[in-house]
Symmetry: C2
Subunit: 309 residues, 2 copies
């Protein structure tokens, strides 16, 4: 009858404080002080060390602390019958949208060049394409991608979305599935990916698909690093077909020191920090599911393990 918290960036006490407000009677423990492990029914974590999941025999759910659940799904010790509660956090959405908008605007408005111009005391306007003539393609149209698409639309970009299954979002053209991918890529001068890491998204941006993008396209990725064939992207940038990339996620993290992305003049690297969801904005879906469990109701916002998100 206990909740165990293995926190992400926000310390466990912040999770406890926020949950205690809603469920004052719930016993809470902070990793690694798990206590009697048979008593742990609810777990908040985005991963556990190898073998640890097998030591909790009575888990009713694991609530992810990150939007991506690949670390849980890839763990061979993750119990097959335990559901994963999706992370739902308005602060994560807002901070990820900020990361995305920053890099899109930085590229579109030539802010890197203005920095150099300031160093040279050069007062000079740099032309840019009117935003409504910039095809902006968002890959992944869940909560995060849908919100990013709407915000980018607010800056007047010509936004379209692509997702596995068809979605309808007012004012935004949407494409879906394999058939929709080629026309989506062909109209995207800037690609923003918020896709999860699944077998289907592995190297989805490769030599062939990068070639479908218009000349001078720019890549923004804060989904998962598995999306991009790194060598294909570097080749396309070096040929000049792709103008550059802003990358927050990588196939190996931390990005190894000898990886060419670190020093490539067309690549901006950030250390997987695009979004950050504070505990107080993330407890809602967890509290809701504990209440449902107590009331004998089915869980809500559960990850589809076959789809991987």
């Amino acid at each position: 009858m206990a909740l165990l918290i293995k926190p992400g960036r926000d310390p466990a006490e912040n999770w406890m404080k926020a949950i205690a407000k809603e469920l004052p009677d719930l016993e809470m423990r902070a990793w690694p002080e798990a206590g009697n492990r048979t008593e742990v029914e609810y777990l908040i974590a985005n991963s556990l060390p190898p073998g640890e999941f097998a030591t909790f025999p009575n888990l009713k759910f694991v609530a992810s602390t990150s939007a991506g659940v690949d670390r849980l799904l890839d763990d061979p010790d993750f119990p097959a019958d335990v559901p994963i509660v999706r992370s739902i956090n308005v602060q994560r959405t807002a901070t990820m949208c900020a990361w995305v908008c920053y890099h899109v605007i930085r590229h579109h408005r030539h802010f890197d060049q203005y920095r150099e111009n300031q160093a040279a005391k050069l007062w000079q306007h740099l032309r840019y394409t009117a935003p409504d003539s910039v095809g902006l393609g968002v890959m992944g149209m869940g909560t995060l991608g849908g919100t990013a698409a709407r915000m980018l639309k607010g800056f007047m970009f010509d936004v379209a979305g692509w997702s596995r299954t068809p979605k309808t979002i007012e004012g935004i053209e949407t494409f879906a599935g394999t058939d929709g991918f080629e026309p989506f890529l062909k109209r995207s001068n800037i690609i923003v990916s918020i896709l999860p890491g699944t077998p289907e998204t592995d190297n989805l941006l490769n030599r062939d698909t990068l070639a479908l993008l218009p000349e001078g396209a720019y890549i923004v990725n804060c989904g998962r690093g598995n999306l991009i064939d790194d060598d294909a992207l570097i080749g396309a940038m070096d040929r000049g077909h792709i103008a550059g990339a802003a990358l927050d996620v990588f196939k190996t993290e931390p990005l190894p020191p000898d990886h060419p992305f670190w020093s490539h003049p067309k690549v901006t690297v950030t250390p997987h920090y695009s979004s950050n969801g504070g505990a107080r904005h993330g407890v809602g879906v967890i509290v809701d599911n504990i209440r449902r469990d107590r009331a004998g109701q089915p869980f809500t916002n559960i990850v589809d393990k076959a789809l991987g998100y």
Copy 2:
């Protein structure tokens, strides 16, 4: 019976094309080919060379091509009885909001530091204040400021607005007038000014008012350069009270090469380019007023010359 266009960045032909769609019978001329000046009834311009206004005796209105009309109002030759049509342009609003959001996010999320970290191949998270704990104050709550405030609210900043007269905007705390200025400043960790250049806004951010801002506050100005007492800002940055400033507008433009802003390590300079309104998005209010004139109706969206905007 003619319209004369002295364009801004968008060439006159773009204005002509967009207006011809709505008013195919209107005679249009492009500066400096003014033709018979007595025939010019409508003028699109944000300034004319000294003395030129006096050579157009039959102007019915001047439509500004920029949001700020200080260059028209400051011209001693501007005819006292000719109204100024305010520029209304969704593209200007969107591009200015992009400039504002870019600089706010850049500061809040330490993107300048991440750039240095990439050069050092350093994979390290930098802590930042949760956006809903960042007091973000928008000065000037007209179309531009109100839209910027709503977009910044979308990034979860704790947004408040300040304006000369009281305004009500859903979800945004508002302050007004002299009485509201001190409490507004005291809660603003980031200040965004979109105020027009008027006698009332001259050096509104000076030694005394900058001191009211919280320690470490950041200044973002894309309104007019008259707002800031440059020496006071530099002093406050050098003392460490103000963390820095992103400035697009200056008391003298182009910013003189010997001005300390160019090389100050805490100042980001851009060359008065925060917003850009293409002709096709700006003709609506002009066409509307020409139709009103023909129908004998009063003009709309006219600048209050006493207020300066």
